[in-house]
Every structure is written in C-alpha cells, then in structure tokens.
C-alpha cells in the first residue's frame, strides 16, 4: 500500500441478495484516498454512497474486489478485527447524530476512549480538547435531549475526533441541519482536516457540503462516473 494512501479500493463489487437473485449496489469501483483528502461521494439516491462508506468503515463486506483501509486489507477479516479497526482508526459521524441518550455530552465524547482503554487523566484532557474544538465547553453536563440538532452534531464531531483517528466517515452529516448549522459544522471539520490532517469521507446531496470538498467522486448506479479534484472549493478559504 502506498504510504500516502489511507484507503485503496480495487475492483470492488457489492451485491445484495434481493428476492431470489441479487441487486448490484456497487460495481467495478477502483480508487484511492490520499491522506488529508476531504472527499465527498456525490450522486443520486440509491447510487451506492452509503454502501461504499459502510464497506470502507468495515461495517459491511465487499462481494468482490479488495479494500484496504489504514494498511489493513479488509478481505477475510472477522468482526472483531473490523471492530478493532473502527475503534482505533476510524471516526463516524451520522446523519441522525446517534448520541447515546443516557450519557452526558462529556460522557458521549469520552465513550470511544473508554472503549480504547485509555486512562482517566488522558481521557479528560482529550475530551476537553475535543469539546473546545467544537465549542461546547458550556454543555458538558447536558444530555443529548437537551441540545439542538447543530449542537448534537457538534458533539458527534467531538466524539469522532476525540481519539484523533486518521479517517472520519460522515454519511449526510448536514441532512438534519439548517444552513447556518451546516456551515458551522462543515467549518469545524475543515479546521480539523487542516490542523490534524484527518482525512474525511462524506456522502452527501448537500450543495453546501460540496462547497467544502477538495475532491468529489460522482457515483451513478454504483459506478464511479467522475472523479473530480477541486482546487478552489467554494466555501473553503486559503488552500
């Protein structure tokens, strides 16, 4: 694997069993993701964006082809090894935030570190740092039900970033947010991308999100239709 590559995909096919036969959700997908890229999968509904992100995240298995993520070939890996990969190397951000409802903001952000077995002191400083990033220091004791959607997604970003993963996967992160919150959340992710060189992979329909991407992969019917490098993203200042 190229040192510079965080994800390598070769001739990936994904079929889902449907009725007696099967439905091909992804076909012949070959691509690489370079460290520090801010990539988006874009395409019509049903084009396979979520499917591809799930496979990269080790949540779903390819039917054919090879996928290597963070130097780990996913083929033939059992669910424990995949869980380990996610726990140590990948952060997830969901459309519906998916915070743990009984936990406070602090505890939600702390949770991935508990799974990693990090000690208490390191955890506290990492959680505080992540909450400062997303500017939620005043909400540490709140529970998800007491937060606005934008705040929830900021907590989710803090939860994804707290372990400083190499890759963050975000499926429609702005779909439940208004314009202001969408820009706010994307701005945060751009900052993290710049300062920590964290790679991001999005799936999105949202024009606002697209305005931040440095690379856009267009999917149509499970195939890569176009792979576009964006030199001057609309909302991204500087580089």
């Amino acid at each position: 694997m190229d040192d510079n590559h965080i994800v390598e995909i070769r001739e990936l096919v994904k079929r889902y069993p449907v009725g007696g036969g099967h439905f091909t959700a992804l076909r012949d997908v070959t691509t690489d993701v370079v460290v520090g890229e801010f990539t988006g999968l874009v395409g019509p509904s049903g084009s396979g964006k979520t499917t591809l992100l799930n496979i990269i995240g080790g949540l779903d298995a390819p039917s054919e082809g090879s996928v290597t993520v963070l130097d780990m070939p996913l083929g033939g890996k059992n669910h424990k090894e995949l869980a380990h990969l996610r726990r140590e190397g990948i952060g997830f951000i969901f459309q519906t935030f998916n915070l743990l409802p009984v936990y406070t903001v602090f505890e939600n952000v702390e949770f991935p570190l508990l799974l990693m077995g990090m000690n208490g002191e390191d955890r506290r400083s990492a959680v505080n740092q992540a909450l400062e990033w997303v500017d939620l220091m005043d909400k540490v004791k709140s529970r998800p039900a007491q937060l606005s959607g934008g705040e929830c997604q900021r907590v989710a970003i803090a939860r994804a970033i707290v372990k400083k993963p190499k890759l963050i996967i975000a499926d429609e992160p702005t779909a439940n947010l208004d314009a202001e919150n969408s820009h706010n959340v994307m701005g945060l992710m751009v900052n993290l991308n710049r300062e920590l060189s964290t790679s991001f992979m999005f799936a999105t329909h949202d024009e606002k999100v697209m305005g931040y991407l440095t690379r856009i992969i267009h999917l149509i019917d499970g195939r890569i239709d176009e792979d576009e490098q964006v030199s001057k993203p609309k909302y991204r200042e500087g580089k």
């Binding site: 779903d60 996610r86 726990r87 997830f92 009984v102 991935p112 799974l115």
Partner: protein, 391 residues
C-alpha cells in the same frame, strides 16, 4: 466496569419500566423468602411441639400395635419386656395403654381413643398431674381444647364412657373432665381421652400392661428387647417431614408463578428495548464495540434488575422479615381448631442459606431472561442495526 456503568445508566434512564420490573422482582423475592421462612418456622415449631408432647425420646411398641388400624388394639397390650422395665423403674420411660371406647355426652355417641398415662410422668409436657389429684368417684379424664370444642365438653362435665375389657365384655361408667389442656398437637388432642394408667388397667383388667412405652428424651433406646419394637425419634418425625414436603411443594408452585411474573416482565422489556434501540446498538458497533460486549451490555442491563430488586427488597422486605422473625404474626384463629400443629404466632425462621439461595435463584433467572433476547444482537449486522432494518 465500563459495561456495568453503562448498563446501570441505561437501566435507570429507562425510568418507569425499569422500576416496575424491579418492583415486581423485589416483591417476588421478598415473598419467596418470607414464605420459605414461614415454612421453616412452621416446620421447626411443629417438630418441637411433636417432640415435647408426644414423641419424646422414641418408643417401644407392642408387636401387634399398628396405629393405623384400631382393631389391632384388642391384641396390642402386654407387660413391657424386661430391659424396658428397668428404664420404666428409673423414670426414663413411661407405659401408655390404648383402647377404643365411646362416650355419650348429653346422649350423643362419640367414638374415642382412650389412653392411659401415668399421672406423675414428666416425659411429655402434658399436664397429667391433674389426673392424680382427682378425688371424686368418677373416672378422671383429661382432654385437649380441640376435643373439648368438637365434643362440646367443659371442665367438670360428667358423661358416660363405654369400653370393652380384656375378655371382650362391654362395661360402662361415669367419667368427669378434670381439666382441659391447651395443646398445639392434635395428635394428643383430637378424639382422645387421657386417663390415669392404673385406672385404665383396672377397667380393662390388664394389670401392668401397656400398648407402647415412651422413652424419655435423651434416654438410650434399647435395641434388643425381644418381640417389642423400638421406634426411634426419626421414625415419628419422618411422617411429619413427608407432610411438610407435600405442603412445600405446593409453595414451590406459587414461587414459580411469582418468578415467572418477574421474569416475563423483564423478558418483555428486554425484547422491546433491543428492538427499539437498534440504532444505538449499531452506533456502539460502529464505535468499535465488539458484538459479544454489546450482548454482555444488554444482558447486564437486564441482569441488573435483580440487583436493584435486592436493594429495593432489602429496604422494604428487611424490616418486615425482621419483625416477623422476632415478633411473629398472630393467627386470627384458634390454633387448636386446625388439624395440624400451629403456633399461636407464626414466627418466620430465615436462614442465611435460604436467603442466599433465593437471591441466587432470582439472579440466575433474571440474567437468563435478559440474555435470551440479547443473544439476537450477535446476529445483527452493524449496517442493519444502524438503519433499523432487519432481515
């Protein structure tokens, strides 16, 4: 640790449903301990009363004696064998003579068991000395309160008693109730007349004879005494234990129902919570929690119902059980009216073993019914869990 903390938070976060399950479980738990304690207390009390009033240190039976067949009484009498008479002389045993008879209080006829006992005995705790103190001309008779109630007899009542002597000849005479004793053992009360042994021997023309001999408690039961049969204490208690065994198996059905109630509530909550919290399960998996730990988390969540139930049970059940174990509960009935031995106050006896056993049983059942639905999580794909879809 993380699992338990998270499980507890989830459980408490579920609010009312959790507390409902916890309340039902604690109710079952306390009730089972409570009732088991009563059975234990009842058993111990009944054994003690039977020993004190009837069995003492065991008995020697005339070879023809069969307590289940009153017709054997015609033959079941004789002079106690030599080795036993030494114990008799030393006051370490007492002879009892039995015969069937009938009484006619106010013209009604009632069959009775007539029992001759030495009035000055101190081997059982029956107040037989009153039989020796009688100076009247009738046959002095001691009866229990239960017998007095059913025959409507009072102290001082005089009535006719009829019996058959050694030669098969019927005879009758006046008898007088010299005392009515309160005794909790119906085995020495219902349908029985207690007479001075010497008097009964005269009436039956069986001088020096007995049907059986009761040994003093602690006295050595002689084994080799010819035809007469030694009957150890356990022989008498075994019958008793069988009765208790039967009664407690009825109780076990009730326990099973109580536990099933608690288990069903928890099972139901588990199924519901696993169904409703699919997205959460998917999130835990996406964050890198392995499936077996997610299963363990949900099992722990359900299993913790039992811990909360023990705590709740200790809070409300503890003082209750303490009260029952020390003060007892008074019976609203006259215990002599029951066909079984009943203490006037029911005292619970709560052994550590019984409480721990019940605790373990409840914990195991609750954990199992929590695990069964949680096991399904292991088959769930993270993507399906995240979308809430299922195959």
């Amino acid at each position: 640790m993380l699992l338990l903390k998270l499980a507890l938070k989830n459980l408490l976060g579920a609010g009312t449903r959790t507390w409902l399950n916890v309340a039902v479980t604690s109710f079952s738990f306390v009730l089972i301990v409570f009732m088991s304690g009563f059975y234990q207390g009842f058993l111990e009390y009944a054994q003690q009363v039977t020993l004190e009033t009837e069995v003492a240190g065991g008995a020697y039976w005339h070879p023809a004696y069969d307590p289940d067949d009153p017709f054997t009484l015609d033959d079941a009498h004789g002079i106690p064998p030599g080795p036993v008479s030494e114990q008799l002389a030393a006051g370490k045993a007492m002879p009892i003579l039995l015969t069937q008879g009938s009484i006619y209080p106010e013209g009604r006829m009632m069959p009775v068991m007539v029992k001759g006992i030495p009035p000055n005995q101190n081997i059982v705790t029956l107040p037989t000395e009153v039989l020796g103190e009688y100076t009247g001309s009738a046959i002095p008779v001691l009866i229990g309160a239960g017998m007095a109630h059913s025959a409507q007899l009072e102290e001082g009542d005089v009535f006719t008693v009829r019996w058959r002597d050694a030669h098969g000849t019927y005879d009758a005479n006046e008898a007088e109730i010299v005392s009515i004793m309160r005794v909790e053992n119906p085995g020495v009360d219902m349908g029985q007349l207690w007479l001075p042994l010497g008097k009964l021997q005269d009436m039956l023309e069986m001088p020096g004879e007995a049907t059986y001999v009761v040994a003093a408690s602690g006295a050595e039961l002689l084994a080799d005494i010819g035809e007469w049969q030694p009957k150890p204490v356990m022989f008498f208690m075994q019958e008793y234990l069988d009765v208790i065994e039967m009664k407690s198996s009825n109780a076990k059905i009730l326990y099973a129902v109580l536990l099933a109630m608690a288990a069903m509530g928890i099972f139901n909550s588990q199924v519901l919570s696993i169904f409703r919290r699919r997205k959460e399960i998917g999130t835990l998996m996406a964050l890198g929690m392995i499936r077996s730990r997610v299963v363990a988390l949900f099992t722990a969540e359900g299993g913790m119902h039992s811990i909360l139930a023990f705590i709740l049970g200790a809070i409300w059940g503890g003082p209750l059980l303490f009260f029952v174990a020390t003060k007892g509960i008074p019976l609203p009935y006259d215990p002599t009216e029951f066909g079984v031995i009943m203490a006037p106050r029911l005292i619970g006896v709560y052994g550590i073993g019984m409480i721990l056993g019940t605790t373990l049983l409840v914990a195991v059942i609750v954990t199992v019914v929590s695990y069964i639905p949680a096991r399904k999580i292991a088959k769930l794909k993270p993507t399906e869990a995240l979308t809430g879809r299922s195959n």
